[in-house]
Amino acid sequence: MMRFAKREVFKTASVEALPLAIAIAAYGVSYGVLATQVNFNVLTAVLMSVLVFSGSAQLVAVAMLAGGAGIASVLLTVVLLNLRNLLYGAALAEGLAPAKKWTSLLAFGITDEPFVLASSRFKKVGPDPFYFAAVAGIFYMAWIFASLTGALIGGQLDPQKFGLDLAFPVTFAALLVPGLKGKPVIGTALAAVVMTFALEWIKPGNELTIIVTGLLAPLVGLYLNRRMGHE
């Protein structure tokens, strides 16, 4: 009976995760290709996916390395990016609680996509760590195999010939645009443009630009959000 129930949950998880897994896979291929452009080999590119399992963190890390950033500034930026994981973990804690000692393992799967699917599932049926494990597992496998594919392809290409030097900005523009909704977010983006430009103007190639902008520009968004609330 228990096994049957788990099979059903896995089936539901697979059906709900599949469309997103395809998208993640394609995204992973992009990461793999880009990683090889900053001198990661197939092993290290895939190892990063295996150990980190965070598309945004990995892409930002390789982009910053491509721009000549040091490990410390990459780490600080990734820490900033990871702040949202705190929110995800807090929101999912109750739904994962029945997993008890396995919770620490399940925590590894907390990323954007499993968060969205699992929080919706928990709202509907209550705590369901097995569902979360299934969804996160599917995304994890998709991400790793896609990274491997991308790294294998990327290693065979000449970056200049195939225009891969333009891949980073295009990737980030594609990441940015869909989220630009509402005055606070747009205000954050515009503030980030001004701050980045100003910091780069003062000291071109400044390693702190991204960190300072990441810390300060959201305050403009917060200010706009508060002002909208008072209107």
Binding site: Y27, L51, A57, L65, A90, L166, A167, I210
Partner: protein
Amino acid sequence: MSSQWLLIVVLAAATYLSRILGITVMAGRQLSPAVRLYFNYVPTAIIVALIIKQIFVSSNGHLVLSLPVLAACLAGALSILLVKKISAIGRGRCRDRLDCPIFIMKCRCLNRIYDEAPILFASRSILVPGSRGMVQ
């Protein structure tokens, strides 16, 4: 090479720490809406900073506008907007075709993404930024 390994280990540790701290330390705590919003705006600011840093490159101590990068960014952004528009039309159709389980599921996922997830996730379901594909 060894710095790459170090970077991977450090990033893995930092990322896992943020995940486990969320479940253990943050669970049950009431965060102020301002902090939540701040966390959600951070990725936007970082991505914009990364783009601008690549559009304006440093050359001999001066900032130089890279037109190819700017053009590529605009093309990428416009492509995404176009695909988003088509995807929205598709979602509209799906709501009329409630007999199709695959489309319903996909629509529900997309709607959820727009409603609940922050920026980084939103783009993935719409178009995966295949760098090579776009450049070509």
